[in-house]
């Protein structure tokens, strides 16, 4: 499938920003399930300072704001050719040891709420993939998809308490629970083409767990399936914090308003 992706984030600041930096993880990489035909990042109201590859092999772009900026716009555009690999991503590459993905983070603590979701799963399944799909189903049962109840700082535990959340919360809960069952697990941010529309609400998020003999396998909890050729992987990390499309810091008072515009369409 050939996917045409457009992703614009626009920040408006109440007062001019003296100095600000943003880390972008918005560059997808070619791999077995996806070939990047072309990809561009354009910045208005700021400039690219440097680029590097982080410890999760994500391509990171550091940008700075123009002096006294009141707006900054980051626009990504590109064409990605995808194939359906049924969620299988493959072997762990690079030098990060698998055990690192068993470390829990602030957002993915294995609290009693999280552990409750794993009860009996081991006993009921002798196949890891079936087990993890069952976990995924339990999560969407317990935490219904609802926008606006949680934000990027919401932990897995809190989302379970609330009983509602978005793809990011589902991913965090899955990661926390999978790690509690000794699976290495990680967070994935990327794009999903919804079948019925071009305009998407936001970027998408799902999770991957590492299964002996198979390697990394993706689970989109919110949509109760493994990623297929409608998915484009952009960045991974232990949780949202390490894979966020934009994380930034600015000096200057006042509030900010963000508008995000994502389009994914089949070419």
């Amino acid at each position: 499938m050939l996917l045409n992706i457009g992703h614009t984030s626009k920040y408006r600041f109440e007062h001019p920003v003296h100095y600000g930096l943003q880390q972008l993880r918005k560059t997808p990489k070619s791999r077995s399930s996806q070939a990047i035909r072309n990809w561009t990042i354009e910045i208005e109201g700021g400039r690219i300072e440097t680029e590097f590859t982080d410890h999760h092999a994500n391509d990171v772009t550091l940008i700075s704001f123009d002096p006294s900026a009141t707006e900054i716009t980051i626009q990504c555009r590109g064409l990605v050719e995808t194939t359906d690999e049924h969620g299988v991503v493959g072997k762990q590459r690079g030098c990060i040891p698998l055990w690192l993905f068993q470390r829990s983070t602030e957002l993915t603590r294995a609290t009693p709420n999280v552990r409750r979701l794993t009860k009996g799963l081991r006993e009921a399944h002798d196949n890891d993939i079936a087990l993890l799909h069952a976990l995924s189903a339990r999560i969407i049962d317990a935490v219904r998809y609802e926008i606006g109840q949680t934000d990027t700082a919401t932990s897995a535990d809190t989302a379970i308490e609330r009983g509602s959340g978005v793809c990011q919360d589902h991913a965090h809960i899955f990661i926390a629970a999978a790690r509690a069952m000794d699976f290495p697990a990680r967070y994935v941010s990327g794009y999903l083409m919804m079948d019925d529309r071009t305009e998407q609400d936001a970027t998408h998020a799902w999770a991957e767990a590492h299964i002996d003999g198979i390697g990394w396998v993706g689970f989109d909890i919110s949509n109760a399936m493994s990623p297929d050729d409608r998915y484009v992987r952009v960045a991974t990390g232990l949780d949202y914090g390490e894979a966020a499309p934009i994380s930034g810091l600015r000096f200057g008072a006042g509030s900010e308003a963000l508008t995000v515009d994502v389009t994914v369409a089949q070419q």
């Binding site: 300072e49 410890h55 700075s64 040891p97």
Partner: protein, 476 residues
């Protein structure tokens, strides 16, 4: 401590006979009027106060600047003794650096099972963001301060490897300056190896670790948390003597893909930053977002290979007290040799058998927090009251993995000058090693800390310790 226990005195040995390295000094001392010396010692204190060599004590509300007491009797090390230490430290610094490279790359030592995986996996000092980073020149630990103690004629032990941001080198330099001013005649009769070249050597060593594509005018700078930091004097002292700028986070920005400092004429790039700010506070964009001391984006620039950070982020994993007990294995694994300098035997309280032993022998042992420093959160069993012992026992049982224990060492003594004349006091030693692609350079001297209270084994300045000038003698 059992009273009447005999300690090795570096001046008088165990048989109360002056040891060879102290011969010349002892005969000079004999000819001096003790009252006059005491008067001179007082003058030394006035000198320190004037020059502003003070430190701020952590955890005290009225963070007034305090002086670290200085004792005028030097601690003397023969050239032969020093040669052994130098060889041992050289080996250790190289091993630590090889260990860091390995831990942040393929982790062969874990695969080989020589260091347990959990020790790294559960360690907060391990910085995953450093995985796969190639530090300029391959150097992680540009400056190492190795804490040594002595218990006998040729018994030296490493107490701690300080591979993060070891401090105290300004005392090594200022103590020598003071001694040179007070007793110039001593230095003309006794051949003491100079230490004054340290700032120049440090500058050269840092400059040898430039990033691959430095700015047109390669520049070194020192990053300080600011004037309220306990070691601010040292930061300023080093910047002054190295002829480099002393910068704070607020002076720095990311400019054109580099870290640049705000000068009276605009921003100027920095290529090597000797940071005296802890990892956690180094970069609010990448580490602790609440840090106001750090430089946002410096880690991005570091990963892009446009700045050298000395010491590299994440070196704490090598001087962690839990890792310490594996140092002999680490040295052997990377150098293929036995460790020249011995470790103090250490019980890891994370291991149930060790914990049981430690709990049974608490009154004889020194127990330390794995992540603590500065002598805080530490139990000196023989000196502790019954109540303190019981309180500590509870802490240990609650979180055994947070502690290690060591036997109470019979630390050597060196005399200090008191109103009643010379009196032995316990000491330790921190020499400073510089590491660059050109090799390990050990400055012949170091910081000798001395417990001023009779019988005390705690030498930390924050706990009432003082310092001495450390003399390494030239070859005869």
């Amino acid at each position: 401590m059992t009273s009447g226990q005999k300690f090795f005195d570096e001046m008088r040995g165990i048989n109360d006979v002056t040891r060879a390295p102290y011969d010349a000094y002892a005969s000079w001392f004999q000819s001096e009027d003790p009252k006059g010396l005491i008067k001179e010692a007082k003058e030394a204190e006035a000198f320190f106060r004037r020059t502003g060599i003070t430190f701020n004590v952590y955890g005290q509300a009225d963070a007034e600047e305090r002086l670290i007491p200085f004792d005028i009797v030097p601690r003397i090390i023969s050239s032969k003794e020093w040669a052994l230490l130098a060889k041992g430290i050289d080996q250790r610094v190289r091993a630590i650096n090889a260990f860091l490279y390995d831990i942040y790359h393929r982790q062969e030592i874990l695969r080989a099972g020589r260091v347990p995986k959990e020790l790294i996996a559960r360690n907060e000092a391990f910085l995953p963001m450093m995985m796969g980073v190639e530090p300029p020149g391959g150097i992680y630990t540009h400056i190492v301060g190795t804490d040594l103690v002595r218990t006998g004629e040729s018994e030296f032990f490493v107490l701690e490897d300080n591979a993060r941001t070891p401090s105290g080198v300004s005392y090594m330099l200022e103590n020598r300056e003071t001694m040179l001013q007070m007793f110039p005649e001593l230095f003309s009769s006794i051949k003491v190896r100079p230490v004054a070249g340290y700032p120049t050597a440090l500058h050269a060593s840092l400059a040898a670790c430039m990033p691959p594509d430095p700015s047109p005018e390669p520049t070194v700078a020192i990053l300080t948390p600011g004037i309220h930091n306990s070691a601010y004097f040292e930061h300023a002292f080093l910047a002054d003597n190295m002829g480099v700028e002393l910068v704070e986070g607020s002076d720095l920005r990311v400019r054109d893909g580099r870290i640049a400092m705000r000068t009276t004429r605009g921003y100027k790039p920095i290529d090597v930053i000797y940071r005296r700010v802890d990892d956690d506070f180094l970069d609010p964009l990448n580490f602790n977002p609440g840090s106001l001391l750090g430089v946002p984006g410096i880690f991005d620039v570091y990963r892009a290979g446009r700045i050298t950070i000395a010491n590299a982020p994440g070196t704490g994993i090598s001087d962690d007290k839990a890792i310490y007990s594996y140092m002999p294995d680490i040295v052997e694994f990377y150098t293929g040799e036995n460790a020249i300098l011995k470790n103090v035997p250490t019980w890891r309280c994370s291991e149930p058998e060790s914990l049981a032993y430690v709990l049974d022998h608490l009154a004889e042992l020194v127990v330390k927090e794995v992540h603590g420093s500065g002598g805080y959160g530490m139990l000196v069993g023989p000196a502790a009251s019954r109540k303190e012992l019981e309180q500590f026992r509870a802490k240990l049982q609650a979180k055994p993995g947070g502690y290690i224990a060591q036997p109470t060492l019979a630390l050597s003594t060196v005399p200090i000058l008191t109103k009643a004349g010379l009196a032995p006091r316990h000491v330790d030693l921190r020499p400073f090693a510089l590491f660059s692609p050109n090799g390990v350079q050990l400055i012949p001297g170091g910081l000798t800390r001395v417990a001023l209270k009779k019988g005390s084994l705690v030498v930390n300045s924050s706990q009432g310790g003082g310092t001495k000038d450390t003399w390494v003698l030239e070859d005869d």
